[in-house]
Subunit: 402 residues, 2 copies
């Protein structure tokens, strides 16, 4: 089996290491490696295979193209070209799958080759294959997940060390855990892309990432962490989606998770995906969501699947795009935090609107109140009432996973 690799960064090296350490068991020959800057790799064991010229790669003969350069372009062009040349493709590129998964799966199908992307979601955690193959007979009803290592690291650190978002982000950037422009991570885009890939496969309908309700972690402050602790919870950036009566709803947002839950035990660079199937019940997958070796391990498994001719059904990407509702249409709990002197008025109004509430804190500056309602729509109504009556203009809300 001959493979060409596009990109020789962290994940590329992880994959190559794994091919090397398994060479007695599996005969995988690397024929070409595309890089940006050849001079950086002149001491590499594979220096003779390294090139800056993609034409040099495509001039070689190979069975699998492993795309690890990331981003939309030129990755998309390269993958398309490979598939159209009847070459199988393994990729870790969630941005591209979330954006062009439908097109690429169609091209792969037309050319009767495989397109595989286990490494695109959850790093080293085997999750797409178990979802597609092991849970095939199940109707997946819902899922929730921590899918972004950078934000989970930031939130863990804020919680454990009582540091501010800005302090932890800065430190994470210095350590290389967060990018110089962290937008895609901290605003939840990366998690939403992964959630859309999982949701598309789980619900057998194409779910587009921008259609989820999206809220990042950049506004989480020490006060939120303080309330979370008081409630016996942590704050996690959670992606959740569900299907009910043919309708899909979903979000990526910071939520309160109970200390008793599995989710609360998934800290730092770890990810978790919890799938809820009609037969199997809740199944959870936990592991490192990023990094050289875990992600290399996932890409290697995809290569092996192609080598062993194991096919896998990912047709759902070619299905029609489905509308996504951005609010929760069933029981939900939320912490509302109001900066207002009119506490009594707010409490009275909430008391009239909800069947259950609990005051968490009431200081001169702030009122924190936990409410249980029938849907997220009701929360919006309450906040709208309070705003219209002039009781409070500055508030925050944090849903709790229940």
């Amino acid at each position: 089996m001959k493979i060409a690799i596009l990109g020789y960064g962290t994940v590329g090296k992880g994959l190559v290491d794994m091919i090397d350490s398994n060479k007695e068991k599996r005969n995988i020959k690397i024929v070409s490696i595309l890089v940006n800057n050849k001079s950086k790799h002149k001491d590499s064991k594979y220096a003779n295979l390294i090139t800056e010229d993609v034409e040099e790669v495509f001039n070689k003969e190979f069975d699998i193209l492993v795309e690890l350069i990331g981003g939309l372009n030129p990755a998309y062009e390269y993958i398309k070209r490979a598939l159209e040349s009847k070459i199988n493709v393994v990729t870790a590129n969630k941005d591209m799958l979330a954006e062009y998964g439908d097109k690429l799966v169609t091209i792969a199908k037309e050319n009767n080759v495989s397109l595989r992307f286990e490494a695109s979601v959850g790093g080293g955690i085997p999750v797409l294959k178990p979802l597609i193959e092991s849970l095939e007979g199940n109707l997946i009803k819902s899922m929730y997940a921590i899918l972004n290592g950078t934000t989970n690291y930031i939130l863990s650190k804020m919680y454990d060390e009582n540091l501010s978002y800005e302090e932890v982000l800065k430190e994470a950037q210095e350590l290389g855990f967060a990018e110089a422009n962290p937008e895609s991570d901290v605003e939840g885009y990366d998690a939403a892309r992964k959630l859309s890939i999982l949701s598309t496969l789980a619900y057998d309908r194409r779910v587009y990432w921008r259609d989820f309700y999206l809220e990042g972690i950049s506004r989480i402050d020490m006060k939120d962490i303080y309330y979370a602790k008081k409630l016996g919870c942590k704050i996690k950036l959670v992606g959740k989606s569900e299907i009910s009566d043919e309708k899909i709803s979903g979000y990526v947002r910071p939520v309160l998770v109970d200390n008793d839950s599995l989710l609360s035990r998934v800290d730092n660079e770890y990810n978790i995906v919890v799938l809820n199937g009609n037969s199997v019940g809740e199944v959870s997958f936990v592991g490192k969501g990023a990094g050289k070796e875990p992600t290399g391990s996932a890409a290697y498994a995809d290569v092996i699947d192609i080598l062993d001719k194991r096919v896998c059904n990912i047709d759902s990407f070619t299905k029609e795009k489905i509308e996504v509702e951005k609010t929760i249409n069933h029981n939900c709990e939320a912490l509302l935090i109001f900066k207002s002197p009119k506490k009594d008025e707010i409490i009275d109004l909430i008391n009239d609107c909800v069947y259950d509430h609990r005051i968490i804190d009431s200081t001169k500056e702030e009122l924190a109140i936990m409410i249980s309602v029938d849907s997220e729509y009701e929360i919006n109504n309450i906040l709208c009432f309070i705003n219209n009556k002039g009781y409070c203009k500055e508030y925050r809300r944090l849903l709790k996973i229940i």
Copy 2:
């Protein structure tokens, strides 16, 4: 694709329900179902396929035999016969695989057919397939797991409701969660069989279940739970194995697990398997470890894999049996509980022997002390000293997972 099913109890019905609910997607035809007592099933939708005569089953033509009757015999004979007739086999029978897995895998290989057993470990949790396929490139260094739902239910209930082992076992038996003869569950045999299947696949050597150190939960009492709570821990029946320098060690025993750990969040009928790979790091799989639908879901996935011609390498079962060490040969922590009036003497002796200890409780009747040592061998030495000096004849020990 035609299948015959041996056994129409809980799991059999779960599988048949799944085949029914997916009939538009997958063309699986049930040709025969073997039962013990036909009259019990006369109102079944499949009454016309149900027989008490195994010859009637084997006289039909089919591609897959699904064995769900359990126990060693006649299950073994039936599976052997099917494989020798070049019929693929799906089974949930961990007792048989732990005992005769080597023979059956050899027969399957000789006849070029599949033998699949995802449902034998962890109920509905996809774990064998991810281990074999998704983590193929990894060297698995160690694993730990909660693999028995009955004991996890008993321990959860003892912990949550402060009930004695005897009370909870009785209740579990009345509710059908524990068998009339609970030995296989409560003595850890069931967990050890599952751990041996996982270990065989993970370490690529045949590991025999009786070679593990085995200790059940029947001697866990309220005092142990009291100490666990005091230490911020729960007690779980954990199976753990590891490979180091070509040596495998392993046990199934009740251990202390920290409340901060994932393991402590896995209660009641839930199971967890944590695999530690050299590249991927720790990956965990959590879900319902038993029951009609979860186990039916796993057996269904195996049927689909055969239908889709996805092959899977389980050669390790045919490898030579490897010796298993029964003690832990690296750092370990343990709680020692002594019933003795000679507390000061015991503390002095422990103080001389270990580099770290902490007195948890010292009452008139009992001394509870947490120690850190370099290997389990040292614990045995300490207990031997104390016994030889006549300081204490009655003691208990509980390792902590670290």
